[in-house]
Symmetry: C2
Subunit: 221 residues, 2 copies
DNA sequence: TAGTGAACTGAACAAGCGTTCAATCACGGA
DNA sequence: TCCGTGATTGAACGCTTGTTCAGTTCACTA
């Protein structure tokens, strides 16, 4: 796509998304202006303020991610991010999402919620056809696994990349996702297949003593 | 302990640890100086620079955490943080650790490494006495569970607390840990007890196709 | 008692940040 | 052709940041 095929406003927004994906939300507007090839004042002319620019970036990335075919999402947060990070058109949105999740707040919440909502559908199917075991609290299980999936990846990233503001380019992101799956893919599957405890004593005790779960099924294990 | 029982240097360091625990590493030196009741210049007199102060805080918190009895650590990252956060003397170091983990880099690495090293011992025992199942790669399994434990808690925190720099006091930390266990404790145990997949097809396929794990045992499931 | 050095302060500094704004440029309609 | 409106620039502003430093206080020692 030639540079002139796209609005200046969109070009600024895309440059901002790429810079934030690479360096985090702390990146200065002057760096973004340079990357977009425009002056500092023009950004404020189009977006009003840094917050305005950030909001526009957030919205655009979220819209992009939400339009990804649900098929790609199957397998949960980790598999989805790994798949998206490999596609050139999605590498910036993917890295941007990781930055947004690290920063916390509203966007992180919305990203997690989107993945949870998406997972509910296919997990429901998988439970119905017997591929996955049912849960005492399906919503909580899905949400926990999403938090664990994103969270572990996040930590792996922030340790590998140095500080939280260190630069992370497309190549770095791909290497990172590869390494993550190579190192932990097998034990992740092992964990999800056999669990950790040899007996259900702990679970039974906690279930008997703890507060009532908002049970979605009464199925027995 | 009366204020005069402790050196000024230590008082500054402790104030810095508390402020960083509450507000994150981004907190300004002027805020720390106010909290410690000293002038801005004195901090630089004692610590040379902001980095120097941060290093001193990092070291002190790490030393504190590492001296916690291994008994408290049993149960992994989540259980340990929940237990430590409840003890008044450890509430600041605990919150500080969460901030450090969020910030990434060297300290995060050292904290995770410490928990992993500690877990190796008691997981080894638990596997030996039949409480926990053995793994195809014990080191990776422990590390993954530590990353997942910290990571999920981190995400839960950053979503609940708003932005990553939002204030988090001792009361907030405790409420947060309680809520986390209430919401996810049961499904966490369920997950660790029964796993997720109904069959071992996925695991077997991945194990057959994937690269050789750095297997520590050749036990069969 | 005089002197020495560490603890400590307050003011100033340079650099970076987001924001503002007057001035220019380009271009389509009257 | 002229005019007006939106795009665009560059310089400046105010604020906050970490850092520096000359000067003051004060306890201890020779």
């Amino acid at each position: 796509m030639a540079p002139s095929d796209i609005t200046t406003r969109a070009r600024i927004r895309d440059a901002a998304i790429e810079q934030i994906a690479r360096k985090g939300y702390g990146v200065s507007m002057r760096v973004i202006a340079d990357a977009a090839g425009v002056s500092l004042g023009l950004i404020n002319h189009h977006f009003g303020s840094k917050d305005g620019l950030r909001a526009a970036c957030d919205d655009h990335v979220l819209e992009t991610i939400m339009n990804v075919k649900s098929e790609t999402m199957r397998g949960g947060a980790v598999a989805a991010m790994a798949a998206l990070g490999k596609m050139e058109e999605y590498v910036n949105p993917t890295a941007y999402c990781l930055r947004a999740i690290a920063a916390g707040g509203d966007v992180a919440q919305r990203i997690v919620d989107h993945f949870v909502a998406d997972a509910k559908a296919w997990v429901g199917e998988a439970v119905a056809d017997g591929t996955l075991r049912p849960s005492v609290d399906e919503e909580a299980r899905i949400r926990l696994m999403t938090l664990q999936g994103f969270g572990a990846m996040q930590l792996f990233l922030s340790q590998r990349v140095g500080s939280a503001d260190a630069e992370l380019g497309p190549a770095g992101l791909n290497a990172l996702l590869d390494d993550y799956l190579n190192e932990y893919g097998l034990v992740m599957l092992e964990m999800y297949t056999f669990g950790l405890f040899a007996s259900s004593d702990m679970f039974d005790a906690f279930r008997a003593a703890g507060p009532n779960p908002r049970a979605t099924t009464t199925e027995e294990h």
